[in-house]
């Protein structure tokens, strides 16, 4: 049989609450992170992802307390992202109970972070998340996918596919 297909609910967090928005704006409150995590766990989710979607744009620190609370009650793999800026942040999240750390804005601003974190903790726990939007250049009918940071707010000029290839190249370290 081999590995199962996984169902992974992804919860966007803003100011300590789970929110539902459209394209990261018009956020509506969706409830308490721990409560929602527990409900998904009961329903048989294979993993959970928590992303503090405004950590970079609001220049906020990690959601350590939420991770600690969820990891104390839900025994499935957790991926956490939002405001990860240094290797030390990866360590703090892993110690709080995350199994994987997701890096988005900082991967663009400081690619070395991805390589360093994967080198130290192993590629199995480093995820690069990419927000891409379809854009077209002025006077050109051709549409392309461009990478955006800060929860879809800032254009980078990077082509999404090229960016993903680059990221893959950095994370070849494998452990265990």
């Amino acid at each position: 049989m081999g590995l199962a297909k996984r169902i992974i609910p992804c919860l966007d967090v803003n100011n300590g609450r789970v929110v539902k928005g459209v394209n990261f704006v018009s956020l509506k409150d969706a409830g308490d992170p721990v409560e929602i995590a527990r409900r998904y766990d009961e329903q048989g989710a294979d993993e959970l992802v928590f992303l503090d979607i405004t950590a970079s744009s609001d220049n906020r620190d990690l959601i350590l307390h939420i991770v600690e609370d969820v990891a104390s009650q839900v025994f499935i793999p957790l991926t956490v992202g939002g405001g990860v800026r240094k290797v030390e942040d990866v360590r703090r999240l892993l110690n709080a109970g995350a199994d994987k750390v997701s890096i988005n804005t900082s991967a663009v601003l400081n690619p070395q972070l991805v390589a360093d974190a994967a080198g130290y903790y192993g590629a199995q726990c480093i995820v690069v998340a990419v927000d891409a939007k379809q854009v077209s250049d002025q006077n050109s009918p051709i549409q392309r996918w461009e990478v955006f940071t800060h929860a879809g707010r800032n254009a980078t000029g990077f082509d999404a596919v090229e960016w993903v290839k680059k990221c893959k190249h950095w994370v070849l370290v494998k452990y265990c």
């Binding site: 049989m1 590995l3 009650q73 709080a96």
Partner: protein, 216 residues
């Protein structure tokens, strides 16, 4: 009195292991510890571990925990998880490092047995995700767990023992590999029971209740 010591030698997060044990064994004391004396006094020992095996062995030595872990593996209900399984054996291909040598066998990389997946594509390493665990022996730690239950795996290496009687379960990736071993007071798994939801919690609950010596 059940006193479970989770051996902390600085390699990775032990919160999930300790919280999961607290959940399933509220009658027990659960301690995350680097102190050899505490490990020595506990009734049950859990040795987790993640990261690179050479680094794990080095840290275990640095914390002065090597002897007491070997001693526990010979005498007490012992649960090894991931590297905690691998380190029981003689040696690992990962950095060609020596293990504790409690059990005879070697830890090898997936690429040494197979390089392609079922579809003929390149085999993805690490082996990561939920895979089925097929039990090969009756054991108190499998109580209440179906023999094809899925557990969560993250690893690139697995144990290859010379002793076929050691195997307690195998998984397919895509070829069969031993993912759990059992001998006397030792039970050790390649997967992560603390991340494997109900099946994992059942296994941890069984471990906390396990009295290997009285069952023989």
């Amino acid at each position: 009195m059940t006193a479970i010591a989770i051996v902390d030698y600085g390699m990775g997060n032990l919160r999930s292991v300790s919280k999961a044990l607290e959940r399933v064994a509220p009658y027990a004391t659960v301690q995350v510890t680097s102190d050899p004396e505490t490990v020595d006094k506990a009734s049950h020992i859990v040795v987790p571990g993640q990261g690179a095996m050479p680094h794990c062995m080095q840290e275990l030595d640095k914390f002065g925990l090597k002897e007491v872990v070997i001693d526990a593996a010979r005498n007490k209900p012992f649960l090894g998880i991931c590297i905690g399984l691998q380190m029981l054996f003689d040696e690992s291909e990962e950095g060609n490092v020596k293990g504790l040598g409690v059990l005879s066998g070697k830890v090898v990389h997936f690429s040494t047995s197979c390089e392609t997946d079922i579809q003929g594509g390149k085999l993805k390493i690490p082996h990561m995700g939920w895979n089925q665990v097929y039990q090969t022996m009756d054991h108190p730690l499998w109580d209440g767990i179906k023999s094809d239950a899925r557990f969560y795996f993250v690893h690139s290496y697995y144990v290859k023992s010379e002793d076929p009687d050691l195997s307690a379960a195998y998984s397919l990736y895509p070829t069969p590999f031993t993912c759990a071993i059992a001998k006397d007071n030792i039970f050790a798994v390649q997967f992560h029971p603390e991340k494997s939801q109900n099946a994992g919690l059942t296994l941890l609950s069984n471990f906390a209740k396990w009295k290997p010596h009285s069952s023989h």
